[in-house]
Subunit: 359 residues, 2 copies
DNA sequence: CACTTTCGTTGGATCGGTTCAAATTTTGAC
DNA sequence: GTCAAAATTTGAACCGATCCAACGAAAGTG
């Protein structure tokens, strides 16, 4: 019974068993850390004492202080913890981070919090050797917090506003978005709509280019710039392209489509700033029997695996997610100060959600 | 530049800034931990000193030792770390564990390792207040390791062999499997095949009831017992039902189906011990134009979300995964010793992968 | 038997904080 | 101006280990 949950009392320390076994604490420590250097007779005696007193081995809390290294990397986000398991992009990223960590024997600590106050505290008190910061949302706040810890850290996102001094790995959002826009214009599309990622913490709803230019989140801003720069080159009046800010979930995406398709002049092409948005959009369109790509084409952004099996499979801008994760872990573990910012290439992957304009 | 990666030298401790600010370390500590009790003038002076010396706040390593609680729970598995993000069952479980942790402000540490030696060390040195142990594979070894830490822990699995003393949360595998088997027999099926979860660490291939009875993993054994008990009640000769041991991945499942369908008397009903197995099986059957449920019916086990959107949607035994996660976290955090073992109910969820026997 | 190695053990210093009883200073009341 | 009460600050003790210089005993050498 006592085994179940060894109650509230576990005051048994290394020193206790040392005393019980009649040896110094130094020797007792050696029994666990370097058994080979202590005489067998003594070793057995100490182990027996440990066993008898229900000692669970040297407490890592103590060791840690002296050793210095935790041997774990923290992955932080401003979203709730379940984001790591719910979001397709995060999942792929985490899978590759995991692999890199496994390869080096490092552990992973998930750092997040329900509210901002908690978040700050959790970052300040995370037992890690460094941070990888997911910047999807509330990025700069997080980066600031992480930097205050004065530990090595890498932001997963290339915020063009950020100090050059913050290490970051990301993709060229402007170029990627440009690729998506060009693909659709080349297919003859002229009437566009944009389903945007969050612009600020303010919820969702229709927004404007001006709003987005002031966006808190540079990823959102850069992708829009990329879209519009390319559309402009094809003489499309971007001031008339509706932009709807979503929060990357079903509800806001559907609301966005309701709004966009309520107008007189409905788009034939949708630029979605994430695959998740695009996939939710696909569901909405299917429910209304709007053919994709017959009536409407749509291009996502990210390149998550779900896009390969959607109906229809999603044309998208693929980020080298796995590579990003690998580099991030490497940057933390081999923190030699040489690392700063790295921009990885993106690719247009044409699948079946985009086709010639119906007009 | 020095900001990027503050080099190898960070010998600035609380004591250093205390000296610099001309206060005792006790006061310096208070500035960070309970700012309100120190006079404003002093507080500012200490903060200024900290800023000037590049102090990143009290190191949690130090605090930890005194505080005792880490405020994080460890989730352990014998699989590689990426299992948490790749496996559908694990993902749902982790999502619910995350939610429970978020609600209480606890963090999550993922504990795993590439090899067994590493695993033992990682468990011994994990900085956590307790463990949730995924017992899918190598369960008993893990449970043993976790128990040696003498920390509260819960096994996610009701191994009937385990000591009554190990706290565990699981489902009644026998009853669940029975539900699956009865559903199919009631639809008129008489020719069955079983795609099993791992029986031992030995890889995959055809196996027998006798082998499974000796299985290392009780989940596998109990599910088979459940299937066969029910089939026997319908006068089906279970000794002729082929059993193929998979490792829960595409390759082994496909090999299993190759093997099973190579025989003269092909089954009309497949009992899959996990949804993941069932979903891979669905792919195999589709590729061979074997109609589901026209030619072959299949029932999975777990109730993962992917089963709802497969082609066709999967009939399965649903486990209350979210509830299990919640209870596990609760058991760790409110470790009052009252908890021991808990068996949760499973349900048959009939979707479109099962139908009347073709005969 | 004295003298150097080798082996195993000891105990103090240290890691970086938090805590709390006691000491000190400030404030308020008369 | 005096004294008690309130507000701050101090410094020692402690959290649980690891590390290492020094030491004692046993073994080896001449």
């Amino acid at each position: 019974m006592a085994l179940l949950a060894s109650g509230k009392t576990r005051p048994v320390r290394l020193a206790d068993i040392a005393k019980a076994a009649g040896v110094s604490h130094g020797t007792a420590s050696n029994v666990f850390a370097r058994p080979e250097i202590v005489r067998e007779e003594v070793r057995e005696r100490v182990k027996a004492a440990a066993e008898a007193m229900g000692y669970g081995g040297p407490d890592p809390k103590g060791r840690l202080l002296r050793a210095g290294k935790v041997n774990a990397i923290g992955v932080a986000t401003a979203e709730p913890l379940s984001y790591f398991f719910d979001d397709p992009f995060a999942r792929v990223m985490m899978a590759s981070i995991s692999q890199a960590c496994d390869a080096t024997g490092a552990g992973i600590s998930l750092v997040s919090a329900a509210n901002n106050e908690q978040l700050a505290w959790n970052i300040q008190s995370a037992l890690v050797d460094g941070f990888i910061v997911f910047c999807v949302d509330g990025g700069s706040k997080l980066v600031e917090l992480a930097r205050e810890r004065k530990l090595p850290f890498v932001a997963l996102d290339l915020d063009s506003d950020d100090d050059e001094a913050v290490a970051a790995i990301g993709v060229d959002n402007i170029a990627g978005a440009g690729l998506a826009a060009r693909h659709l214009t080349e297919l003859g599309h002229r009437r566009f709509a944009v389903l945007a990622l969050p612009v600020a913490d303010s919820g969702f709803g229709p927004t404007t280019q001006e709003q987005v230019e002031k966006a808190l989140y540079s990823g959102t801003r850069d992708r829009l710039r990329g879209y519009f720069a390319e559309l402009s080159r094809f003489d499309i009046d971007v001031s008339r392209v509706p932009i709807y800010e979503t929060v990357n979930d079903e509800e806001s995406v559907w609301a966005g489509l309701d709004h966009i398709f309520a107008g007189a002049e409905t788009p034939t092409a949708i630029l979605a700033m994430s695959d998740r948005i695009a996939l939710h959009a696909l569901d909405w369109l299917r429910q209304r029997d709007i053919a994709v790509p017959g009536d409407v084409s749509i291009v996502g952004f990210d390149g998550v695996p779900e896009g390969a099996v959607s109906k229809p499979p999603l044309t998208t801008i693929v980020q080298p997610i796995a590579e990003m994760g690998r580099l991030a872990v490497k940057a933390i573990l081999e923190n030699d100060g040489s690392f700063s910012r790295q921009s990885l290439p993106v690719d247009l992957l044409v699948r079946a959600s985009s086709g010639p304009s119906p007009a």
